[in-house]
Amino acid sequence: MSVIKKIFIISFFLILISCQADKTYILVEPGKVEINKIYSVNTNMKWSQFQEREYNFLFWTVDGYTLQRIVFFKPLEDGQSLFDYDSLFTKENEKRPTFNSKMNKFEIKEFFESCIIWSREFTSFETTDIKNHKIGETEGVSFDIKAQNELGLNYKGFAVVGIKNNKLYSIYFIATEMEFYDRYKKEAEEIISSVKIL
């Protein structure tokens, strides 16, 4: 085998290994959990946590991302968006919704909704029932979510968002309306109401 062939094969395996290293699932045990030194939360049950280096969010799930998840976003600064990667369908960076720390409570909800729509994960996505909500000591809002994906699967959920030191903190829970929303709603409510910004 020539040297070039050997180099090629070794490089190929190295690329494969490096790809794998980016995607990690870790087990979250019940109790108090610190998330990336950004949030502190309490959970009564086990979750699988998924985090990929290039995304500015991580999520917890039990049965899988498409069935139920709690998503924790890293804090956003002015000009940033919830999804920084280029959507496959909308590679128009200039049209990406961007955060502005002067947004009022309604505009934060509007921004959150626009970002999820921009990501094109759901074919319909609506937020309703906006209420005042405190994330720890941080003033913010909560609202309900209704969504549907391309296959016609219905989802329900809720989100909390708030601004602290000009940065946007956001967390949401979403699950399939059939089966999983009702099963994990109470647990998700308890987790989200226990969130403190560190």
């Binding site: 009022n104 309604f106 074919t123 029932d129 005042n132 549907q148 296959l151």
Partner: protein, 389 residues
């Protein structure tokens, strides 16, 4: 690898044998279905699969009444083909409609927002029905093959041929969305226009509305980003030429006052209007372009307060950009909305919240209080009150 490639080409060549590139394609007859061994049957099969998915897709608008209304327009245009064509509405905020060879017609909500009356909508539906009757998808396929466009043949052949796994690479959805199946030659477009126009005249719609919808689209395109044509235009060539032809053909009918049915269309789309406008604004097109779309939507002037309110929304959402303060423009439009109708609650809420942002606190509080008074215990009262205290 070379052998596989050669096999695919031979396979595709054999697929085309029953019809052959040069053979004349007749119009499809009412209630006709293609023979099972034909290429057309393969196209139908793929489209039937796509249609099954579309029926339960989350992107299909949940409004059977609106789909029934569009189907009725189609049946007014052509009773003969009424049974053969199914009309679906997809909730996508761009101007587009397309016709699949199996009789599946899809209209996007962006087109419904832009049609000013039923006659304009009928012009598009009639045009798309023309593509079906004249079998333009099959003609395009054969034309692509006769030009030995290797990539096109591979793309379509792999989808139609049903080679396992290949459909994932070039699936029919992608083909449709890329406009390939809907992309027709200029001759096909002219032919579909002619069929559509005859339908329009026979159904006693105002034929003068047919060129108008295209004129509006051209104007909108000019106001927007010139290098990004609207999706429909990406697959339908030369709107200027189309307008010229349509005007020429409708000249002899210009003194006939046929129906436009503006009210009928507006009533049907009314339940969705707020959401569609919000989605239109969210596209972040150039503000002049969005303003133009809204002006056409509210052209009857009956709801001028809404036109002004939504124009205000365009500029509020842009905010401060490149040293241009759009908040002042937004406030001007909100004020005009109030002048047109002084008891529309939403405008007081948006105006008040915007005034808070630019620290006009006294005026802001006055407007937010007015919002609470007019909307009578709104669901967001607690949040508004948090801004008042």
């Amino acid at each position: 690898m070379k052998k596989i490639f050669l096999f695919i080409i031979i396979f595709l060549g054999s697929c085309a044998t029953p019809i052959g590139g040069a053979k004349k394609v007749e119009d499809i007859k009412p209630q006709e279905t293609p023979s099972i061994e034909s290429i057309e049957a393969g196209l139908w099969m793929q489209m039937n699969n796509y249609e099954e998915k579309l029926k339960t897709s989350g992107s299909r608008l949940k409004d059977k009444d609106l789909e029934k209304y569009l189907k009725n327009i189609l049946c007014k245009l052509t009773i003969e083909y009424c049974k053969d064509i199914r009309v679906y509405v997809q909730d996508i905020p761009y101007f587009n409609a397309f016709m699949a060879p199996n009789g599946m017609m899809v209209v996007w909500t962006g087109l419904l927002l832009r049609a000013q009356n039923e006659a304009q909508l009928a012009a598009v539906i009639g045009h798309e029905a023309g593509h079906y009757i004249k079998r333009h998808s099959l003609k395009s396929w054969l034309d692509a093959k006769s030009r030995t466009d290797l990539m096109a043949i591979l793309a379509i052949g792999l989808s139609v041929g049903g080679i396992p796994g290949a459909g994932d690479i070039f699936n029919v959805t992608q083909l449709l969305q890329a406009g390939f199946m809907a992309k027709h030659s200029r001759d096909n477009e002219r032919e579909a226009d002619k069929v559509g126009l005859n339908f329009l005249i026979n159904a006693e719609y105002d034929p003068g509305e047919a060129p108008k919808i295209w004129e509006n689209i051209i104007k909108e395109m000019e106001l927007g980003e010139a290098n990004k044509p609207l999706s429909f235009l990406a697959s339908h060539p030369a709107p200027e030429e189309r307008i010229k032809n349509l005007k020429k053909q409708t000249k002899e009918y210009e003194n006939i006052k046929n129906k436009k049915n503006t009210k009928e269309l507006k009533e049907k789309i009314h339940p969705h209007l707020k959401k569609w406008i919000k989605n239109e604004i969210r596209l972040k097109n150039k503000p002049e372009q969005t303003e133009f779309v809204l002006e056409k939507t509210f052209e009857d002037k009956k709801n001028d307060y809404l036109l002004k309110f939504y124009k205000g929304e365009i500029y509020r959402l842009i905010g401060v950009k490149e040293e241009e303060n759009n908040y002042d423009k937004a406030i001007d439009y909100y004020d005009e909305s109030i002048k047109a109708k002084n008891d529309f609650p939403d405008v007081y809420r948006e105006l008040g919240l915007l005034q808070l942002k630019i620290e006009k606190n006294e005026e802001a509080k006055k407007n937010l209080k007015k919002y609470l008074k007019l909307s009578k215990n709104p669901q967001d009262a607690a949040i508004i009150e948090s801004y008042l205290n």
